[in-house]
């Protein structure tokens, strides 16, 4: 079920009504409603893949219980290994099997050996990379004894399948979300209203920005040879806004929806396009995944505790795995390598933690503007690999950009789209210190103006959107 669908517009109020109709002390009954709703939400897309969520939940629940019952290091390691094998095995089969087989065949063919292994005709289950990482983090935390395992099977299953963030994150840590299922929830007016604001803002970014950019971007990337350099560059810039609107929009809707049920999900985006360098960008983009890799890969590898070369190696590995997490295609690896190359100079010169807070002044200074534009340009160029069908296509795209026609007038999209993007950037700039673009601004704007703004945005969502596109991150 898509957040930007009529089905969800019916589903959400029904679940909301049922959930809050249950008295507060019966929070387990509320969990049952959320679990049933979450399975319905996921099964609405394809009920057969519910079994994968079920298996992943069951294994990690059992591993958690098993880890409490033994203090022996060897047995504990075995239990953790079981969790990793099941979760990474599911990912491996559904997401990476064909990629490895194809590359194996290419390699041995290059060496003169003929091989014909069978490929698997599988559909990639929506959100598999998200919920498997979420369940794995639980088992790892319990193994590390940084989290007490739960015996509440209902709470655990609901934690894994919680519908707002099930298919595209944020990838929640059990330490943050799981305890919320075991506590009494109270309806909080301010939180619910802010949840609705965040949903509205997410819908605006998805439906108005991302979906309208999609048409122009698709046309540009489908036939890059037919466009001039300036149009191709503009296409890449629009893709930067498309993927941001799409993914951060999804996260905003997810977090806002969770708030309606009195749950706090972690922040996933912190206005990344206002970053002044690549290191800051990665602290602000897809934060739940970045911190996941930091906690469960970078730090276990030694983090920055070893020599400079070890730190560089660890950073490179994290970027590479992160790229591969996005998809079984060399384009994502190339995207990750490019980001590593952007990042390493900052790391080597110890300048990767210069910009930890958002710009405080009302407007950025000229130097900050230049830094923001430089970072945005680097990120945009890397997105070309992310969007292209193959590495060859990406290079052809770059070749097209780096042609004399780069200085010609580009084929501009509609003025409305450019205005809408400008509106998004302006609102996000004003809200950059808050949780989301529309975070409370009571002090700054009187109520009629705020309500007028909300009505305007809602009207744009209803009437100004592109086609109903899937969320890009569903494929991951």
């Amino acid at each position: 079920m898509l957040f930007n669908s009529i089905e969800f517009a019916i589903f959400l109020p029904v679940v909301f009504g049922l959930y809050w109709a249950v008295p507060g002390h019966l929070f387990r009954l509320r969990n049952s409603i959320l679990l049933a709703a979450s399975y319905f939400f996921y099964g609405y897309w394809d009920w057969r893949f519910l079994s994968l969520i079920f298996v992943s939940s069951l294994v990690d629940y059992a591993v958690g219980i098993g880890l409490t019952q033994t203090q022996l290091g060897g047995r504990r390691r075995l239990l953790l290994l079981a969790s990793l094998i099941v979760n990474l095995g599911l990912l491996g089969v559904f997401k990476y099997y064909n990629f490895f087989i194809d590359n194996l065949v290419d390699t041995v063919t290059f060496l003169g050996v003929h091989l014909e292994p069978s490929r698997l005709e599988l559909i990639l289950p929506v959100g598999i990379s998200f919920y498997t990482f979420q369940t794995m983090s639980y088992s790892i935390d319990v193994y590390r004894r940084s989290l007490k395992p739960t015996r509440d099977v209902l709470a655990f299953f609901t934690y894994v399948s919680f519908f707002p963030q099930l298919v595209a994150g944020p990838i929640e840590r059990a330490s943050n979300l799981l305890p919320q299922f075991s506590a009494r929830r109270r309806f909080d007016y301010e939180r619910a209203v802010d949840g609705l604001r965040q949903i509205l803002w997410g819908l605006f970014k998805k439906v108005v920005i991302a979906d309208n950019c999609a048409g122009v971007v698709d046309a540009t990337f489908a036939d890059s040879g037919a466009h001039g350099g300036s149009t191709l560059l503009l296409g890449a810039v629009l893709f930067a806004f498309q993927i941001y609107g799409d993914f951060s929009g999804y996260s905003d809707i997810a977090i806002g929806t969770a708030r309606l049920f009195d749950f706090n999900l972690m922040k996933n985006f912190a206005f990344p396009y206002f970053s002044r360098d690549i290191a800051e960008f990665w602290r602000r983009w897809h934060m739940s995944l970045t911190t996941w890799f930091r906690d469960y890969l970078y730090i276990p590898l030694g983090g920055s505790r070893g020599s400079r070369s070890q730190t560089i190696r660890n950073t490179f590995i994290v970027f590479l795995v992160s790229g591969f997490w996005h998809g079984a295609n060399w384009t994502f690896i190339a995207w990750a390598v490019l980001h590593t190359l952007f990042f390493l100079p900052l790391l080597i010169t110890n300048r990767n933690r210069r910009h930890l807070d958002a710009i405080a002044s009302r407007f950025p200074g000229p130097v900050e503007v230049l830094l923001i534009l430089r970072t945005f340009l680097l990120v945009t160029l890397a997105w070309v690999f992310f969007r292209a069908e193959s590495v060859g296509d990406a290079f052809a795209y770059f070749q097209g950009i780096a042609s004399p026609s780069l200085l010609s007038k580009p084929d501009l999209p509609s003025k409305f789209l450019l205005l809408e993007i400008a509106l998004m950037v302006a609102i996000e700039w004003l809200g950059r210190h808050g949780e989301h673009g529309l975070a409370p601004k009571e002090a700054r704007f009187p109520r009629p103006l705020r309500w007028g703004g909300y009505l305007g945005l809602a009207s744009l969502v209803l009437f100004g959107g592109g086609g109903t596109e899937d969320f890009i991150y569903f494929q991951f």
């Binding site: 007016y189 609705l196 309500w451 909300y454 009505l455 809602a458 009207s459 209803l462």
Partner: protein, 296 residues
């Protein structure tokens, strides 16, 4: 919770009012600019129809003639257009109506009333009455929101600019694709067959074609039916019931009928579906039509 629900209800009510105002406002913008929808004093002949006539006759080669056909246009909308045209352009003396087998097929209803119509409705916003809008809602009530969305999304900007979208003309884009038997098969199945059975005719198109003829005659115009060339293989596979339907209509209406039967086009002059001419086919068809038209 009560306070929250009340505030939410208030917001949704205001949003509904805003949406209604946008829909009504968009339609009103189009209605206010309808007077600008004229063809000009030099035009005395029009060709009306759908994509078949639109892509087959290059009106730039025919002085005094305008090809106002638009792709996917059902006769219901052609009728409304012509009714408006005859009120504003009094020099019109001759009307050619595109008539072919597919025009009678029931698949067309989706283009007249259904969701597919939503992709074209901005052309007709000024022409539709309140009853017409109600009819569209009744036909597909589950898509009412989509209808409202399409009205604003597709109609607002042209309405604001006062654009007249109801009259087409031969497109500037030169279509160069050529006949492809597999595409023709798909086209035939789309138009005439459902689950290996011949589809029912379109009641609306049959009714409004007759209304168009009556309207033109009531204004004392010369009216003729025009069937653009079809690929022989495509024509061979038209269901017999549709052949009869067209024959009976022509007999009953007594319309002069020109079907380019004396013109043979090659595969390279048809679009892949065998149902439309491409640019090269249009040039050949226009030359022949010119002779027919000038010969009276």
């Amino acid at each position: 919770m009560k306070h929250f629900l009340l505030r939410l209800a208030l917001f949704l009510s205001l949003l509904s009012l805003t949406c209604a105002a946008l829909v009504v406002g968009t339609v009103e913008l189009h209605r206010r600019t309808i007077d600008r929808c004229t063809l000009g004093a030099e035009i005395d002949t029009v060709i009306a129809g759908d994509s078949h006539t639109m892509w087959a006759i290059d009106d730039s080669q025919l002085p005094g003639l305008r090809n106002i056909s638009l792709n996917a246009e059902g006769y219901r909308y052609t009728y409304l257009k012509l009714r408006h045209l005859l009120q504003t352009d009094h020099r019109i003396a001759t009307i050619y109506i595109g008539v072919s087998y597919h025009n009678f097929a029931g698949y067309y209803d989706e283009y007249i009333y259904g969701v597919t119509f939503h992709d074209y409705l901005e052309r007709y916003l000024s022409l539709l009455s309140r009853a017409d809008y109600e009819g569209l809602v009744r036909y597909a009530p589950q898509h009412s929101l989509g209808l409202a969305r399409s009205i604003v999304q597709r109609g607002f900007r042209p309405g604001l600019k006062g654009e007249c979208l109801m009259y087409g003309q031969f497109p500037a884009e030169q279509k160069t694709q050529v006949f492809d038997a597999s595409k023709m098969q798909a086209r035939l199945e789309e138009q005439f067959y459902r689950s290996n059975r011949v589809v029912e005719p379109s009641v609306s198109n049959v009714e409004y074609l007759q209304k168009i003829v009556d309207l033109c005659r009531a204004h004392g115009l010369r009216v003729a039916a025009l069937a653009t060339p079809l690929h022989p293989e495509y024509e061979r596979r038209i269901p017999a019931s549709y052949r009869r339907l067209l024959r009976h209509f022509l007999q009953d209406s007594g319309l002069p009928y020109y079907d380019f039967a004396d013109l043979t086009l090659s595969d390279a002059e048809f679009l892949p579906d065998g149902d439309h001419t491409n640019y090269a086919g249009a040039m050949t068809t226009t030359r022949r039509f010119k002779r027919y038209h000038e010969g009276g």
